[in-house]
Symmetry: C2
Subunit: 190 residues, 2 copies
Protein backbone atom coordinates (compact mmCIF):
# COMPACT_ATOMS: atom_id res chain seq x y z
CA UNK A 1 0.00 0.00 0.00
CA UNK A 2 1.29 3.40 -0.94
CA UNK A 3 1.56 5.47 2.24
CA UNK A 4 3.36 8.40 0.72
CA UNK A 5 4.87 9.21 -2.65
CA UNK A 6 4.10 8.10 -6.17
CA UNK A 7 4.37 4.74 -7.93
CA UNK A 8 3.62 3.52 -11.41
CA UNK A 9 3.14 0.11 -12.96
CA UNK A 10 4.45 -0.61 -16.43
CA UNK A 11 5.37 -3.21 -19.01
CA UNK A 12 8.50 -3.39 -21.12
CA UNK A 13 8.32 -4.61 -24.70
CA UNK A 14 11.09 -6.60 -26.39
CA UNK A 15 11.88 -3.59 -28.56
CA UNK A 16 12.69 -1.51 -25.49
CA UNK A 17 9.46 0.47 -25.34
CA UNK A 18 8.07 1.10 -21.89
CA UNK A 19 4.33 1.43 -21.48
CA UNK A 20 3.15 2.85 -18.18
CA UNK A 21 -0.17 1.30 -17.18
CA UNK A 22 -1.18 3.35 -14.17
CA UNK A 23 -0.01 5.78 -11.54
CA UNK A 24 -0.53 4.97 -7.89
CA UNK A 25 -1.08 7.64 -5.28
CA UNK A 26 -1.21 7.33 -1.49
CA UNK A 27 -4.03 5.12 -0.26
CA UNK A 28 -3.88 2.71 -3.16
CA UNK A 29 -2.81 -0.92 -3.08
CA UNK A 30 -1.08 -1.42 -6.42
CA UNK A 31 -0.52 -5.14 -6.34
CA UNK A 32 -3.70 -6.49 -4.81
CA UNK A 33 -4.24 -8.71 -7.81
CA UNK A 34 -1.31 -10.89 -6.84
CA UNK A 35 -3.71 -12.39 -4.30
CA UNK A 36 -5.41 -14.27 -7.11
CA UNK A 37 -3.03 -14.29 -10.07
CA UNK A 38 0.01 -16.45 -9.60
CA UNK A 39 2.19 -14.69 -12.11
CA UNK A 40 2.68 -10.96 -12.14
CA UNK A 41 2.29 -9.65 -15.66
CA UNK A 42 3.75 -6.19 -15.16
CA UNK A 43 6.32 -4.36 -13.08
CA UNK A 44 6.07 -1.72 -10.41
CA UNK A 45 8.41 1.13 -9.53
CA UNK A 46 8.53 4.34 -7.56
CA UNK A 47 8.77 7.61 -9.45
CA UNK A 48 9.34 9.74 -6.36
CA UNK A 49 10.67 9.05 -2.86
CA UNK A 50 7.90 6.97 -1.31
CA UNK A 51 6.82 5.08 1.77
CA UNK A 52 5.30 1.68 1.14
CA UNK A 53 3.52 -0.66 3.52
CA UNK A 54 3.72 -4.40 2.82
CA UNK A 55 0.77 -6.59 3.80
CA UNK A 56 1.23 -10.39 3.88
CA UNK A 57 -1.10 -12.34 1.64
CA UNK A 58 -2.04 -14.66 4.46
CA UNK A 59 -3.34 -11.83 6.61
CA UNK A 60 -5.54 -10.58 3.80
CA UNK A 61 -6.79 -14.04 2.93
CA UNK A 62 -7.91 -14.70 6.47
CA UNK A 63 -9.72 -11.37 6.55
CA UNK A 64 -11.45 -12.03 3.25
CA UNK A 65 -12.78 -15.43 4.25
CA UNK A 66 -14.03 -14.28 7.60
CA UNK A 67 -15.48 -10.93 6.68
CA UNK A 68 -17.16 -10.81 3.33
CA UNK A 69 -17.81 -7.11 3.80
CA UNK A 70 -14.09 -6.50 3.59
CA UNK A 71 -13.85 -8.69 0.53
CA UNK A 72 -16.54 -6.56 -1.09
CA UNK A 73 -14.58 -3.40 -0.42
CA UNK A 74 -11.31 -4.74 -1.81
CA UNK A 75 -13.08 -6.32 -4.74
CA UNK A 76 -14.66 -3.01 -5.55
CA UNK A 77 -11.27 -1.30 -5.43
CA UNK A 78 -9.87 -3.74 -7.94
CA UNK A 79 -12.82 -3.17 -10.23
CA UNK A 80 -12.22 0.56 -10.13
CA UNK A 81 -8.62 -0.09 -11.17
CA UNK A 82 -10.01 -2.07 -14.08
CA UNK A 83 -12.35 0.79 -14.99
CA UNK A 84 -9.39 3.15 -15.03
CA UNK A 85 -7.49 0.76 -17.29
CA UNK A 86 -10.41 0.78 -19.69
CA UNK A 87 -10.40 4.55 -19.77
CA UNK A 88 -6.68 4.44 -20.55
CA UNK A 89 -7.46 2.29 -23.55
CA UNK A 90 -9.80 5.04 -24.70
CA UNK A 91 -7.11 7.58 -24.00
CA UNK A 92 -4.35 5.99 -26.02
CA UNK A 93 -6.72 4.71 -28.68
CA UNK A 94 -9.06 7.59 -29.40
CA UNK A 95 -7.67 10.92 -28.25
CA UNK A 96 -5.00 13.12 -29.77
CA UNK A 97 -1.91 14.19 -27.86
CA UNK A 98 -3.38 17.38 -26.42
CA UNK A 99 -6.48 15.59 -25.12
CA UNK A 100 -4.50 12.63 -23.80
CA UNK A 101 -2.31 14.74 -21.60
CA UNK A 102 -5.28 16.81 -20.45
CA UNK A 103 -7.05 13.62 -19.51
CA UNK A 104 -4.13 12.29 -17.54
CA UNK A 105 -3.95 15.53 -15.57
CA UNK A 106 -7.68 15.50 -14.84
CA UNK A 107 -7.43 11.95 -13.58
CA UNK A 108 -4.48 12.70 -11.33
CA UNK A 109 -6.22 15.75 -9.97
CA UNK A 110 -9.38 13.91 -8.99
CA UNK A 111 -7.52 10.94 -7.57
CA UNK A 112 -5.38 13.19 -5.43
CA UNK A 113 -8.33 15.33 -4.42
CA UNK A 114 -10.14 12.20 -3.20
CA UNK A 115 -7.36 11.57 -0.68
CA UNK A 116 -6.92 15.21 0.29
CA UNK A 117 -3.63 15.81 -1.50
CA UNK A 118 -4.66 18.89 -3.46
CA UNK A 119 -4.56 22.53 -2.48
CA UNK A 120 -7.28 24.24 -4.46
CA UNK A 121 -6.49 23.17 -7.99
CA UNK A 122 -2.79 22.65 -7.30
CA UNK A 123 -1.11 19.36 -6.57
CA UNK A 124 2.31 17.90 -6.19
CA UNK A 125 3.11 16.13 -9.45
CA UNK A 126 6.57 14.57 -9.56
CA UNK A 127 5.96 12.94 -12.93
CA UNK A 128 8.47 13.78 -15.67
CA UNK A 129 7.49 14.48 -19.24
CA UNK A 130 9.23 11.27 -20.25
CA UNK A 131 6.90 9.39 -17.93
CA UNK A 132 3.89 11.17 -19.38
CA UNK A 133 5.14 10.08 -22.78
CA UNK A 134 5.40 6.45 -21.69
CA UNK A 135 1.94 6.61 -20.14
CA UNK A 136 0.24 8.16 -23.16
CA UNK A 137 2.09 6.42 -25.95
CA UNK A 138 3.64 9.64 -27.23
CA UNK A 139 7.22 10.79 -27.65
CA UNK A 140 8.75 13.09 -25.04
CA UNK A 141 9.25 15.75 -27.66
CA UNK A 142 5.61 15.76 -28.57
CA UNK A 143 4.56 15.71 -24.91
CA UNK A 144 6.71 18.74 -24.34
CA UNK A 145 5.08 20.63 -27.20
CA UNK A 146 1.59 19.69 -26.07
CA UNK A 147 2.29 20.73 -22.49
CA UNK A 148 3.51 24.06 -23.75
CA UNK A 149 0.32 24.41 -25.70
CA UNK A 150 -1.70 23.72 -22.54
CA UNK A 151 0.31 26.38 -20.77
CA UNK A 152 -0.09 28.78 -23.66
CA UNK A 153 -3.86 28.32 -23.55
CA UNK A 154 -3.81 29.11 -19.82
CA UNK A 155 -5.25 25.73 -18.87
CA UNK A 156 -2.41 24.72 -16.58
CA UNK A 157 0.82 25.78 -14.93
CA UNK A 158 3.31 23.00 -14.37
CA UNK A 159 6.81 23.56 -13.06
CA UNK A 160 9.19 21.86 -10.67
CA UNK A 161 6.87 19.12 -9.58
CA UNK A 162 3.87 21.32 -8.96
CA UNK A 163 0.92 21.38 -11.29
CA UNK A 164 -1.84 23.97 -11.08
CA UNK A 165 -5.00 23.67 -13.10
CA UNK A 166 -6.01 27.18 -14.13
CA UNK A 167 -9.28 26.26 -15.83
CA UNK A 168 -10.58 22.86 -14.79
CA UNK A 169 -13.69 23.03 -16.92
CA UNK A 170 -11.71 23.87 -20.03
CA UNK A 171 -9.21 21.12 -19.27
CA UNK A 172 -11.99 18.56 -18.89
CA UNK A 173 -13.57 19.72 -22.12
CA UNK A 174 -10.28 19.41 -23.95
CA UNK A 175 -9.86 15.91 -22.51
CA UNK A 176 -13.48 14.85 -23.11
CA UNK A 177 -13.26 13.90 -19.45
CA UNK A 178 -16.13 12.11 -17.75
CA UNK A 179 -15.66 11.62 -14.03
CA UNK A 180 -17.90 8.56 -13.83
CA UNK A 181 -15.20 6.03 -14.57
CA UNK A 182 -13.34 6.82 -11.34
CA UNK A 183 -16.40 5.71 -9.34
CA UNK A 184 -15.55 8.11 -6.56
CA UNK A 185 -19.09 8.17 -5.17
CA UNK A 186 -18.45 5.93 -2.18
CA UNK A 187 -14.76 5.41 -2.53
CA UNK A 188 -14.25 6.62 1.02
CA UNK A 189 -13.31 3.02 1.65
CA UNK A 190 -9.79 3.73 0.52
Amino acid sequence: MVVEGFLCSYKMLPDGERQILSFHVPGEIPDLQSLFLEKMDHALTTIAPSTIAFIPHEAVNVLLEQHFRIARILWREMLIDAAISREWIVNTGSRDAYARISHLLCELFYKLQAVGLTKGTSFNCPITQTEVADATGLSTVHVNRSVQELRGNRLIEWERGTCTILDLQALEDAAMFDLDYLHLASAGAA
Copy 2:
Protein backbone atom coordinates in the same frame (compact mmCIF):
# COMPACT_ATOMS: atom_id res chain seq x y z
CA MET B 1 -22.91 -14.88 -19.73
CA VAL B 2 -22.12 -15.43 -23.38
CA VAL B 3 -23.39 -18.86 -24.36
CA GLU B 4 -22.83 -18.52 -28.06
CA GLY B 5 -21.72 -15.75 -30.39
CA PHE B 6 -19.55 -12.69 -29.96
CA LEU B 7 -19.95 -9.51 -27.91
CA CYS B 8 -17.87 -6.43 -27.40
CA SER B 9 -17.84 -3.66 -24.84
CA TYR B 10 -17.10 -0.11 -25.90
CA LYS B 11 -17.24 3.56 -25.02
CA MET B 12 -18.43 6.42 -27.18
CA LEU B 13 -16.71 9.79 -27.01
CA PRO B 14 -18.51 13.10 -27.45
CA ASP B 15 -16.80 13.57 -30.81
CA GLY B 16 -18.40 10.39 -32.13
CA GLU B 17 -15.38 8.13 -31.81
CA ARG B 18 -16.10 4.61 -30.66
CA GLN B 19 -13.42 2.77 -28.70
CA ILE B 20 -13.90 -0.95 -28.32
CA LEU B 21 -12.56 -2.14 -24.96
CA SER B 22 -12.78 -5.89 -25.25
CA PHE B 23 -14.30 -8.76 -27.15
CA HIS B 24 -16.27 -11.41 -25.31
CA VAL B 25 -16.38 -15.00 -26.45
CA PRO B 26 -18.54 -17.88 -25.18
CA GLY B 27 -17.93 -18.73 -21.54
CA GLU B 28 -17.25 -15.17 -20.45
CA ILE B 29 -19.41 -13.01 -18.20
CA PRO B 30 -18.95 -9.53 -19.62
CA ASP B 31 -20.75 -7.50 -17.02
CA LEU B 32 -19.75 -9.15 -13.76
CA GLN B 33 -18.44 -5.86 -12.47
CA SER B 34 -21.95 -4.47 -12.18
CA LEU B 35 -22.15 -6.54 -9.01
CA PHE B 36 -19.94 -3.99 -7.27
CA LEU B 37 -20.05 -0.82 -9.35
CA GLU B 38 -23.35 1.01 -9.25
CA LYS B 39 -22.88 2.87 -12.49
CA MET B 40 -21.92 1.16 -15.71
CA ASP B 41 -19.17 3.11 -17.40
CA HIS B 42 -19.29 1.48 -20.81
CA ALA B 43 -21.72 -0.15 -23.19
CA LEU B 44 -22.12 -3.69 -24.44
CA THR B 45 -23.33 -4.99 -27.78
CA THR B 46 -23.40 -8.11 -29.88
CA ILE B 47 -21.33 -8.20 -33.05
CA ALA B 48 -22.76 -11.49 -34.26
CA PRO B 49 -25.96 -13.41 -33.60
CA SER B 50 -25.54 -14.56 -30.02
CA THR B 51 -27.16 -16.41 -27.16
CA ILE B 52 -26.89 -14.73 -23.79
CA ALA B 53 -27.76 -16.04 -20.34
CA PHE B 54 -28.83 -13.54 -17.70
CA ILE B 55 -27.99 -14.23 -14.07
CA PRO B 56 -29.74 -12.21 -11.35
CA HIS B 57 -27.44 -10.29 -9.04
CA GLU B 58 -29.18 -11.66 -6.00
CA ALA B 59 -28.43 -15.24 -6.93
CA VAL B 60 -24.76 -14.47 -7.36
CA ASN B 61 -24.56 -12.46 -4.16
CA VAL B 62 -25.99 -15.32 -2.12
CA LEU B 63 -23.50 -17.71 -3.68
CA LEU B 64 -20.58 -15.41 -3.01
CA GLU B 65 -21.38 -14.94 0.65
CA GLN B 66 -21.94 -18.60 1.31
CA HIS B 67 -19.13 -20.09 -0.72
CA PHE B 68 -15.95 -18.13 -0.70
CA ARG B 69 -14.41 -20.60 -3.11
CA ILE B 70 -16.82 -19.42 -5.76
CA ALA B 71 -16.04 -15.82 -4.94
CA ARG B 72 -12.37 -16.59 -5.50
CA ILE B 73 -13.09 -18.03 -8.93
CA LEU B 74 -15.19 -15.09 -10.08
CA TRP B 75 -12.77 -12.63 -8.56
CA ARG B 76 -9.96 -14.23 -10.48
CA GLU B 77 -11.93 -13.99 -13.71
CA MET B 78 -12.41 -10.28 -13.20
CA LEU B 79 -8.72 -9.83 -12.55
CA ILE B 80 -7.90 -11.58 -15.80
CA ASP B 81 -10.20 -9.15 -17.58
CA ALA B 82 -8.23 -6.36 -15.97
CA ALA B 83 -4.95 -7.93 -17.10
CA ILE B 84 -6.29 -8.05 -20.64
CA SER B 85 -7.27 -4.38 -20.41
CA ARG B 86 -3.72 -3.54 -19.36
CA GLU B 87 -2.36 -5.40 -22.35
CA TRP B 88 -4.71 -3.41 -24.57
CA ILE B 89 -3.19 -0.23 -23.20
CA VAL B 90 0.18 -1.56 -24.31
CA ASN B 91 -1.30 -2.45 -27.67
CA THR B 92 -2.77 0.95 -28.49
CA GLY B 93 0.04 2.82 -26.79
CA SER B 94 3.21 1.10 -27.90
CA ARG B 95 2.70 -1.00 -31.01
CA ASP B 96 2.36 0.03 -34.65
CA ALA B 97 -0.63 -0.90 -36.78
CA TYR B 98 0.78 -4.17 -38.07
CA ALA B 99 1.70 -5.40 -34.59
CA ARG B 100 -1.57 -4.23 -33.05
CA ILE B 101 -3.67 -6.25 -35.41
CA SER B 102 -1.40 -9.26 -35.06
CA HIS B 103 -1.73 -9.01 -31.32
CA LEU B 104 -5.51 -8.85 -31.43
CA LEU B 105 -5.61 -11.98 -33.58
CA CYS B 106 -3.26 -13.86 -31.25
CA GLU B 107 -5.43 -12.95 -28.30
CA LEU B 108 -8.62 -14.06 -30.00
CA PHE B 109 -7.03 -17.28 -31.07
CA TYR B 110 -5.89 -18.24 -27.58
CA LYS B 111 -9.14 -17.18 -25.95
CA LEU B 112 -11.14 -19.25 -28.40
CA GLN B 113 -8.76 -22.17 -28.14
CA ALA B 114 -9.21 -22.19 -24.37
CA VAL B 115 -12.94 -22.85 -24.81
CA GLY B 116 -12.53 -25.28 -27.66
CA LEU B 117 -13.74 -23.04 -30.46
CA THR B 118 -10.78 -23.42 -32.78
CA LYS B 119 -10.10 -26.01 -35.44
CA GLY B 120 -6.37 -26.28 -35.74
CA THR B 121 -5.32 -22.69 -36.22
CA SER B 122 -8.63 -21.64 -37.75
CA PHE B 123 -11.47 -19.95 -35.94
CA ASN B 124 -14.74 -18.29 -36.64
CA CYS B 125 -14.09 -14.56 -36.52
CA PRO B 126 -17.17 -12.45 -37.29
CA ILE B 127 -15.38 -9.19 -36.50
CA THR B 128 -15.39 -6.57 -39.27
CA GLN B 129 -12.38 -4.49 -40.16
CA THR B 130 -14.25 -1.44 -38.88
CA GLU B 131 -14.49 -3.12 -35.49
CA VAL B 132 -10.81 -3.97 -35.55
CA ALA B 133 -10.20 -0.29 -36.27
CA ASP B 134 -12.31 0.78 -33.29
CA ALA B 135 -10.55 -1.74 -31.07
CA THR B 136 -7.03 -0.78 -32.07
CA GLY B 137 -7.44 2.96 -32.46
CA LEU B 138 -6.71 2.87 -36.19
CA SER B 139 -8.70 3.91 -39.25
CA THR B 140 -10.51 1.25 -41.24
CA VAL B 141 -8.45 2.09 -44.29
CA HIS B 142 -5.23 1.50 -42.44
CA VAL B 143 -6.54 -1.70 -40.89
CA ASN B 144 -7.39 -2.93 -44.34
CA ARG B 145 -3.89 -2.25 -45.62
CA SER B 146 -2.26 -3.89 -42.62
CA VAL B 147 -4.47 -6.98 -42.94
CA GLN B 148 -3.46 -7.24 -46.56
CA GLU B 149 0.15 -7.03 -45.50
CA LEU B 150 -0.42 -9.87 -43.03
CA ARG B 151 -1.97 -11.88 -45.82
CA GLY B 152 0.83 -10.98 -48.21
CA ASN B 153 3.40 -12.18 -45.67
CA ARG B 154 1.50 -15.46 -45.39
CA LEU B 155 0.84 -15.02 -41.69
CA ILE B 156 -2.92 -15.28 -41.92
CA GLU B 157 -5.86 -15.96 -44.16
CA TRP B 158 -9.03 -14.11 -43.27
CA GLU B 159 -12.17 -14.16 -45.35
CA ARG B 160 -15.91 -14.34 -44.77
CA GLY B 161 -15.78 -14.63 -41.04
CA THR B 162 -13.12 -17.31 -40.91
CA CYS B 163 -9.58 -16.55 -39.86
CA THR B 164 -6.74 -19.02 -40.27
CA ILE B 165 -3.35 -18.42 -38.75
CA LEU B 166 -0.76 -19.74 -41.19
CA ASP B 167 2.30 -19.11 -39.03
CA LEU B 168 1.47 -18.67 -35.37
CA GLN B 169 5.05 -18.18 -34.26
CA ALA B 170 5.64 -15.46 -36.82
CA LEU B 171 2.38 -13.77 -35.90
CA GLU B 172 3.31 -13.77 -32.22
CA ASP B 173 6.73 -12.37 -33.04
CA ALA B 174 5.22 -9.60 -35.12
CA ALA B 175 2.85 -8.83 -32.26
CA MET B 176 5.49 -9.10 -29.53
CA PHE B 177 2.92 -11.40 -27.99
CA ASP B 178 3.45 -12.86 -24.53
CA LEU B 179 0.81 -15.36 -23.48
CA ASP B 180 1.27 -14.76 -19.76
CA TYR B 181 -1.22 -11.94 -19.49
CA LEU B 182 -4.14 -14.21 -20.35
CA HIS B 183 -3.41 -16.30 -17.25
CA LEU B 184 -4.77 -19.39 -18.92
CA ALA B 185 -2.93 -21.79 -16.61
CA SER B 186 -5.90 -22.77 -14.47
CA ALA B 187 -8.63 -20.94 -16.30
CA GLY B 188 -10.57 -24.16 -16.62
CA ALA B 189 -12.88 -22.49 -14.13
CA ALA B 190 -14.65 -20.74 -16.99
